[in-house]
Subunit: 306 residues, 2 copies
């Protein structure tokens, strides 16, 4: 997103606490360092965050605790980032920059175990873990501030995002991260359960397109949109595809670790008809090419990622 | 609840921070002081709350910030009480008293503006204010701890509760509070909007019955139940009834204050068929008699309440 914004000649302020468990990585801004203002700030540090928000036309509100597993182990940190900090951000917008446009990145996890597929935005919210509950609360805060105080906000419910510059040292951000690392390291991929769980994957370029559309299109205000892909894939097929693209490797189907099984949602794919119809967003990346480019990126740059 | 529990010869620990904006009042335990253990503790003070929870067979988790209006003015306090403290309580149960039974008092406010009446538990959750969002999160935490960790929990979604010992000095806990005070003081009742909003009122004795059933009945675990009344009443009719019972007084229909209009939900009444079928709960108080007894109580004891 920052790279695209720099291309578009936007003035960009990046806020990241560089928490070791997160996705922040200085290498991710290699080549654009001089064109962005980087602030090593925790989003919960309101006195330092607020003055930055006051200056902006757009806020891409992407900061969050994203690990479902971590949220179960440390629910207070999850609520502080995904609830308390969100309220502080919105209060700052309301009182000091009411004309800002906010794009909030949420997650398919707010739906919990799908009652039907593909999941549309009308699907009941029944989060299966603490992270999903807190992200759902974060969404609702944005809608309240939009509806009551006129702080224009749009919510995107992301599904599995992948591509260059994601965290791949472990499974903390996304199962695909650790798969990519293992493939490159030559160790086997673990597929949990029976491997028949479907997932829809969005390349980061498509997600960036959605973020930009959500920011600049007036009709996105007060809306909640699913992202999604037209070609959901079962995990064992994804593993097979990755091995094929990689030209080698292996996967093994192993039982779920108990603590992951407890919060697993089974198969998921999102219906993205609403954002397609309203904002003309269609995912353009081909999964095979996207994975190929991503593997190539990490094969070249892995030293910066693990 | 404490009085009933004392009658039942339970060992009762009361935890209340006696926050001036809350409902805590020493007079409310007049006559049972020696039979209960009162702890002046804020529910967010985990080091002091946890040792108490560890000793109990049942936790009536009633502590909360209940004012919708206050939550809008100070969302951080609302989230700290209604989210963070709830997680601490549940973590304590999980790790130190996993066989406890928890009854969590939630609110009809989690539904937001009703899409149909009477509202059943399947109605979508779309809270219209910060308090509703945070109470919905609090509910979900309880369900997660029940489902994943076996901490038995039951959720009651209360509607308007009234009766002796409620806060009546202002409208902070319930609009009916300030109405009772004004009637007794001889000043007019304000009815907002057109006064045609319906509400269902539960006498505190009926709510206590529901709390006890939720606590002791095994089949309540993991369940969410609406409370409600069979005789919802429009606010102007309620005002008329109260004046009749009081033998005097007047009401005036006035426009909503803007900040209240923004979070008003219109008419509401809850379908309580599920708790009736599962736990045999039926509200037994007659509204007229309930209001009469309540007015009588405050006419006698108002010095302790404002």
């Amino acid at each position: 997103l920052a790279r695209r914004l720099v291309d578009l000649e936007a003035q960009v302020i990046l806020v990241d606490n560089l928490f070791p468990g997160g996705g922040g990585n200085h290498f991710n801004i290699a080549g654009i360092e001089s064109k962005v203002q980087f602030e090593n700030i925790d989003v919960r540090d309101t006195p330092r965050v607020a003055p930055l928000i006051e200056k902006c036309d757009f806020l891409f509100n992407l900061a969050g605790q994203t690990s479902h597993h971590f949220a179960m182990a440390d629910p207070q940190t999850d609520v502080s980032v995904n609830c308390c900090a969100q309220l502080s951000i919105l209060e700052t917008c309301r009182h000091h920059n009411p004309s800002i446009k906010v794009v909030f990145s949420s997650t398919r996890q707010v739906y919990g175990v799908p009652q039907y597929l593909p999941v549309d935005e009308q699907h009941p919210l029944s989060p299966a873990d603490i992270n999903g509950i807190n992200k759902a609360a974060g969404e609702s805060y944005h809608m309240i501030y939009h509806n009551l105080y006129g702080v224009r906000a749009c919510i995107l419910r992301l599904t599995n995002t992948y591509g260059p510059r994601m965290r791949v040292k472990d499974a903390r951000q996304n199962f695909l991260g650790i798969w990519l690392r293992r493939l490159i390291e030559g160790s086997p991929i673990d597929v949990f359960g029976d491997g028949r769980q479907a997932r829809d994957l969005n390349h980061v370029n498509d997600v960036v397109n959605a973020l930009l559309l959500a920011a600049v299109r007036e009709e996105s205000g007060g809306q909640i949109f699913n992202l999604g892909a037209s070609d959901p894939i079962e995990l064992r097929d994804l593993a097979t595809l990755l091995i094929e693209i990689n030209g080698g490797g292996e996967f093994r189907v192993v039982p779920f670790p108990a603590e992951r099984k407890a919060i697993d949602i089974g198969s998921y794919c999102g219906n993205y008809g609403l954002i397609r119809d309203r904002l003309d967003w269609v995912p353009q990346s081909c999964l095979e090419e996207g994975l190929e480019g991503t593997l190539k990126f990490y094969r070249e740059h892995y030293r910066h990622y693990w």
